[in-house]
Symmetry: C2
């Protein structure tokens, strides 16, 4: 088998065989396939597409590039959640303890933020002492003890994906549904979970800008999961404006704790409860979504979710006192208020611009190797639909560095749109795929 | 400017700017643009295409990656010919001395054979002592002395093309009309010629299989040449069967000498005279094609072309006695005859299979670094349209190595098709683009 023949096949629009896909992924993993051949094939895949069968084989080959974790000695239906990424998208820190408190084991493996979207690991690491690098044994111990562990992917999980993603990033081959699907699902399948709930974001602040594209991605992801023996379903949620108020690592941790205390913003609560309820149904802990949602609300009201969060922090080496004392989280002294340029109704808060402004402040990263500042970020004061007076604060920028603040101010200057009439109420959960 | 943004533009079907194309070619030439980005862009170009403007800019950037030879101190309109490659396609050795004998200076830079098609340099080097690596000064001296020089491209001619071609070869990005056009024309423009006649082959043994594709390529090449100040025209000629009888380096040299002596096969004479006549018209040595063709025929009949060939061989260090004594050319003692499986009319001699069989014998190369055997090759005894009896010889294989012969026999077994009726006469020169 020759790499160039595989490239020619895909270039000319033919479907690749399982063996050809395996040859490609194995070559990438072993480093025997040159990057220039891999990138030519990736571009051909992006422009020519892949069938559902090819995408499933690609995912499978990527799973087999590393280990598939064996969690069979942990009793129960292990369920994870994955989001395609958004701004202020912090539901993992809420739903993992809630699902665990309701009896569903959650072995969660997450990623870091890149570009304008945040990442769960960065948020968790805002908690002093919190370790996301548990060994597999420590992870299993945490699952047995408190029903939840929240860690990063180990090097053994789908190493082909790590190499391919780095290459895609610099060769313009990121935006391909088959490649995105295989990247996401190979890592999730390798975790050893039994079921998965996906939160596919849609809108200006999401990777997929249109509902149609988001649905195509959701369908691709769900098909791969189910074909691999992982029961998978997806909801499609709006990502035009940031989710909740907080954007930035420590700020988002606080907002999550607020939700677990029974407070927090309505949109964040709605998406978190919906995702947790689906995890409960898949985990066999509730007969239907309505019953599951009620169970989740009870876990919030009783404080069981909050208590489980405290335990997770403790078991993973973090300081659980942050739950009661937010000043133990990293924070900065300086705030800058962005004001409404006119009076009226907020018709939009551009998630992409707010996300990029947050990165400019230091809360995220443009390149994988960048460090993040856990303390800085943005509080969205006025959400879409709210009435504002001219000069009223709409964004609160928490900054450490003046030059970075200036960059963030420039980015936020176009982020808020204000009109004379209140906007039509936006749907938050716009669809499901199962 | 970032390479990934250029890739994204082309991937999404946008035309690149002149600066973007220059950035790409300069980066390839300097080695600052990684191969994996170059190959992703090449695949995007292949699948998305390029406008005529982009192709011209690409050609120009490739010309400027090296030197453009200055031949202004050689008087007259300097004319070259380029063929897109065929089997038994040996016209250069005929037309260069003929055009020079008719007063047109021919500074010919040629390539080597690759795959099933041969190359002029390999044929010339079959002549003992013949040097194709003249320096630029030696080339100019030869032009001044005898009006012709036949050499290989120096490293200073379009170095970007050399790098890009090596990458295209292993990344499935060869078959793109804009990339082929820029590759061919950058080298020709850099030679410093004033005019160019192209022989674009079409058919099963050619790079372009259909007349429509060949015409598109011809139009692209002619447009680039004229836009760059090189008067360019093209003829499209059939390449379903080998041209002439001889396939293989020394065998083809003999056939060319035969044509210059007034003999040789009709198809080879027709294409050679047509191309030379066009060179004469472009070179200002004849008012029209008919007059030019008559002049070329006279140069054959008078022996002026043969005499010029002898001088070229002499000036370039070769043994001119080969003209009169073919046994001074490399040759092998062993022949194998392939016979007609049935009686009837030869309806086809597959140029691609004959070419591959010739490579199998050692006359050509599969990889750039392979050596060629000048002595081996194939004589096509029965050409399309000829009547044959069952068992009559149709191909004569000149071989050195028994194992190579077996491979060649396997390839030739399907090469000859014989029918009950004579085939419709095939057109040899199927079109022109000017």
């Amino acid at each position: 088998m020759r790499a160039v023949d595989i490239i020619l096949s895909k270039r000319d629009g033919r479907a690749l065989s399982r063996d050809e896909i395996r040859f490609f992924v194995d070559g990438v993993t072993a480093g025997t396939l040159p990057d220039y051949q891999a990138s030519a094939l990736l571009m051909a895949i992006l422009l020519r597409g892949m069938t559902a069968g090819e995408t499933a084989w690609l995912t499978d080959a990527m799973v087999h590039s590393g280990v598939r974790v064996d969690l069979r000695d942990i009793p129960g239906v292990k369920v994870d959640k994955h989001s395609t990424g958004g701004v202020g998208d912090k539901t993992s820190l809420i739903l993992a303890p809630l699902a665990a408190a309701c009896g569903v084991p959650v072995p969660m493996m997450s990623g870091r933020g890149l570009g304008h979207t945040g990442g769960t690991l960065d948020k968790l690491e805002a908690i002093p002492g919190f370790r996301v690098d548990l060994t597999l044994e420590e992870m299993k111990a945490a699952l047995a003890d408190i029903g939840c562990a929240m860690i990063g992917q180990t090097a053994q999980i789908a190493p082909a994906d790590k190499k391919l993603y780095a290459l895609r990033d610099v060769t313009g081959t990121v935006e391909s549904i088959p490649l995105i699907s295989a990247s996401i699902m190979s890592k999730k399948i390798a975790e050893g979970i039994d079921a998965l709930v996906l939160d596919v974001k849609t809108g200006s602040g999401a990777f997929m800008k249109t509902e149609a594209d988001s649905r195509r991605l959701a369908e691709s992801l769900v098909a791969i999961g189910n074909a691999s023996g992982v029961r998978t379903e997806a909801i499609i949620t709006a990502m035009d404006a940031p989710l909740g108020h907080a954007v930035g690592n420590a700020l988002e941790v606080i907002e999550c704790i607020e939700v677990l205390k029974g407070g927090g913003p309505a949109d964040l609560i709605a998406v978190s409860v919906e995702l947790t309820a689906r995890m409960l149904v898949l985990g066999g802990k509730a007969p239907d979504l309505a019953a599951a949602a009620a169970q989740v609300q009870r876990a919030i009201a009783s404080g069981a979710g909050l208590e489980r969060f405290r335990r997770i922090v403790e078991v993973q080496g973090g300081d659980p006192r942050v739950v009661d004392d937010y000043r133990r989280l990293p924070h900065v002294a300086d705030r800058h208020l962005v004001s409404a340029a006119r009076g009226g109704y907020v018709t939009g808060v551009d998630a992409s611009l707010v996300g990029r402004a947050s990165v400019a402040l230091g809360a995220g990263r443009d390149r994988v190797e960048d460090a993040v500042d856990p303390a800085v970020g943005i509080m969205v004061i006025a959400k879409p639909g709210e009435a504002v007076r001219e000069g009223a604060p709409v964004l609160e920028l928490h900054y450490r560095d003046r030059a970075r603040l200036d960059a963030a101010i420039r980015l936020t200057s176009q982020a808020i749109t204000i009109g004379d009439e209140p906007p039509a109420p936006a749907r938050l959960i716009v669809g499901e795929v199962r």
